[in-house]
């Protein structure tokens, strides 16, 4: 992997730089282990994250290695998990909690919106919330109802929350370390579909929250995506290249704060853009990005900004999800609709 943005940098003070090929799941596991090692105040808990190692094995081995008091199971109650994490964060700890699937984060929604997001503001910074809420998100894994939702809009809309989602094992590692190091609460969305995708991970690379990433250079259109939609966008770019179109791909990776500068620079350079995300489109992060790009790049646009998103329906059952999810063809259709005939 090449680091293409100056927000990604090798931390020269880091004790050791190791580069290895890892799945995203393994990269996340490593990030947790390294954070637990680096900082006594970090602790990991949730449902089945202890001896089982999490239903996706992201916490595999942590209890065995760090002990029950650093990584442990809780009673089965998500509001309880987040609510106690709030209290711990108030008292000097850095809890990293796992909520098992998107839809099972919902019982914690009041705690997240009314407290996690607002405690720092409420106390004029007197109480910070260094807390990470990890949520496996998105579909494409053939999961049954409630297991494949994409609920980033709920969090991104909530002031006070930082919301990030990695698309590569490197970002999974670096963003999770950054999230755990952040003095503010971070909702960390892990694209389930990419858990098993592999890539090189350099543990010395740090990523700034708030920074997007150019995942592929291109001159004709900018695809803007995050999470599992990034590899999809890259595939679409590949396919379009075969048809002679040069497609740029921006990996947003930090939904809030949003890297307006990089995204707008990218779109201004191509004059055309398509936003891609799995979640239902209405009042979504995709609509936000679309609206921002429209408003900020208006004079540069050759065509309306399009979006390719999930439908405004509940997530499809496993056998219909291929119809539900954005795919390469749908992205290319959107690209085709960008007024090419008008071009000088």
């Amino acid at each position: 992997m090449t680091i293409t943005h100056d927000h990604d940098h090798v931390d020269v003070d880091a004790p050791e730089s190791t580069v290895q090929t890892l799945s995203m799941a393994a990269a996340l596991n490593l990030a947790l282990a390294d954070a637990l090692t680096a900082d006594e105040s970090v602790l990991v808990f949730g449902e089945d994250v202890g001896v089982l190692g999490g239903v996706f094995r992201i916490t595999d081995g942590l209890t065995a290695h760090f002990g029950e008091d650093r990584c442990f199971d809780t009673p089965l109650a998500e509001s309880g998990i987040v609510g106690t994490a709030v209290g711990m964060a108030m008292n000097g700890l850095r809890p990293v909690v796992e909520l098992q699937f998107d839809a099972f984060a919902l019982p914690a929604f009041e705690q997240i919106v009314s407290h996690v997001a607002k405690l720092s503001n409420r106390t004029r910074g007197g109480v910070r919330m260094p807390l990470v809420i990890r949520i496996p998100f998105g579909g494409g894994i053939g999961g049954v109802e409630h297991h494949c939702d994409s609920s980033e809009a709920y969090y991104a809309h909530t002031p006070g929350l930082t919301v990030v989602s990695p698309a590569t094992p490197q970002d999974a590692y670096s963003l999770l370390r950054a999230a755990i190091a952040s003095p503010d609460p971070v909702v960390f969305l892990e694209p389930k579909k990419l858990y098993w995708s592999k890539g090189e991970v350099d543990t010395a690379v740090t990523v700034d929250i708030g920074s997007a990433r150019i995942a592929r250079e291109g001159t004709d259109v900018t695809l803007i995506a995050y999470g599992a939609s990034v590899p999809l966008a890259l595939h679409a770019a590949e396919a379009a290249a075969a048809e002679g179109r040069s497609i740029q791909v921006v990996d947003v990776r930090s939904l809030t704060p949003f890297d307006d500068e990089m995204v707008m620079t990218a779109v201004r350079s191509t004059g055309r853009a398509v936003v891609i995300a799995e979640a239902p489109g209405f009042a979504s992060v995709a609509s936000e990005i679309q609206a921002r790009v429209f408003e900020r790049c208006f004079e540069f646009l050759e065509a309306p900004v399009r979006r390719v998103t999930g439908f405004d329906t509940p997530y499809a059952p496993p056998k219909l999800e291929h119809w539900y999810l954005p795919d390469v063809d749908r992205i290319l259709d959107a690209v085709d609709s960008l007024h090419w005939e008008d071009r000088p």
């Binding site: 239903v55 009673p75 396919a239």
Partner: protein
């Protein structure tokens, strides 16, 4: 009189308060060896009932194991088996009248089927065709709930509506030991108690919530001890003894039907297999622990009892086994058939009238599908 006894702890009620607590020992009517364990509070169901229950257990076991096999063969996406918990499943189904309602979870397919839902319809969710596959009002079985404890509140509201219309419907709501930790469990118990609705909460305490053992779930003397905190009776039953399950649930259902309000029943049972096929239970429990529960199997003890009593003849046993095999083979046939799925279904049931937004989105998808088909029939790529 002491001011804080107003409304509370009145002399006549004190006894009642103690009755809200479960007994120290779970109710058991047939022990693990198949011998009768007499109980001063609960009578053994008659032998016709026990025979029907036995048939249910055998069929339930067969359904569980058939479904697990279908998962291995890739015909089902996932199956949370109730292998080992069949006494709870069958007890819950048999204790209800036709006009009663069941609110089950993902683990309760056997109970759902025992209520009359065709196995293939019960498996629609697990096959991945749709989120639920049976006719809810027809069978009086709510969709199997995935988000834990949420269905308990639905059961309470449902019972409220029935009571309001003066129907004698009883609602039986199922959940697991883990689910008792959720806020919705608490709210459901409390609403049921305050509104005094005809609902029975039946907790299958199978010792695990995926990998988390009961000792990590609660520090209470038992889950049934939660009941008094809502002012309703809590009961504990041996969940591998279908006779005891029928007796204790039967009493709770009768109370509900009699407008005596809700009951919380905790059944002590054990999840003999992994949480689902996707789970690896060797990571979190000893084989010996699992093995120890084989001796407490709900089928063998009832078979032993019914054989001893002469109620279960070889002929009957053979007939029951054949019946179970028929169910299994019908399941195989139904689930081996390819599903005929219509992508427009994604848009059909979201709201009663399709919104212009959804129509637009379907138009887009339809167009894609048509172009796809053209490309395919033209043999070309994009």
């Amino acid at each position: 009189m002491h001011p804080f006894l107003i409304g509370f702890g009145r002399e006549g009620e004190r006894m009642m308060h103690e009755e809200l607590l479960p007994r120290d020992e779970a109710v058991q009517l047939i022990d693990a060896a198949g011998d009768l364990a007499t109980d001063s509070d609960y009578a053994l169901p008659d032998s016709a009932t026990l025979l029907a229950a036995y048939r249910g257990l055998v069929e339930g076991r067969r359904i569980n194991d058939q479904a697990s096999a279908l998962v291995r063969q890739g015909r089902l996406a996932v199956y949370p088996s109730s292998h080992g918990q069949e006494a709870c499943q069958i007890g819950a189904a048999l204790v209800l009248r036709d006009t009663d309602w069941l609110f089950p979870t993902y683990r309760d397919s056997v109970a759902v089927i025992a209520r009359g839902v065709a196995p293939a319809d019960a498996m629609v969710l697990l096959k991945g065709d749709w989120h639920s596959g049976y006719d809810v009002p027809l069978h009086r079985v709510a969709p199997q709930a995935t988000p834990l404890a949420t269905q308990l509140l639905h059961a309470v509201g449902f019972a409220y509506a029935a009571k309001r219309r003066g129907e004698d419907t009883v609602v039986l709501a199922l959940c697991g030991d883990g689910a008792t930790s959720e806020g919705d469990f608490h709210e459901a118990m409390n609403f049921a108690a305050v509104f005094h609705v005809p609902v029975v909460f039946f907790v299958q305490n199978n010792e695990f919530a995926i990998s988390v053992p009961l000792s990590r779930q609660t520090a209470a003397p038992s889950l049934a001890h939660k009941a008094i905190g809502y002012g309703i009776p809590g009961r504990r039953v041996d969940g591998n003894d279908v006779a005891a399950v029928l007796a204790v649930l039967g009493e709770a259902v009768a109370r509900a039907r009699n407008d005596e309000g809700p009951t919380l029943v905790e059944a002590h049972t054990y999840r003999m297999q992994a949480h689902t096929n996707a789970d690896d239970d060797t990571r979190y429990r000893q084989r010996e622990e699992v093995q120890a529960w084989v001796a407490r199997d709900p089928l063998t003890r009832l078979r032993a009892h019914l054989s001893q009593s002469g109620a279960l003849t070889d002929d009957l046993e053979r007939g029951i086994a054949e019946g179970a095999e028929e169910i299994a083979s019908a399941m195989r046939a139904a689930l081996n058939a390819d599903s005929d799925l219509d992508p427009e279904d994604l848009f059909r049931f979201v709201t009663t009238e399709r919104s212009p937004q959804l129509q637009e989105q379907w138009d887009l998808l339809r167009d894609e599908i048509e172009r796809d088909q053209e490309t395919h029939s033209a043999g070309g790529a994009r």
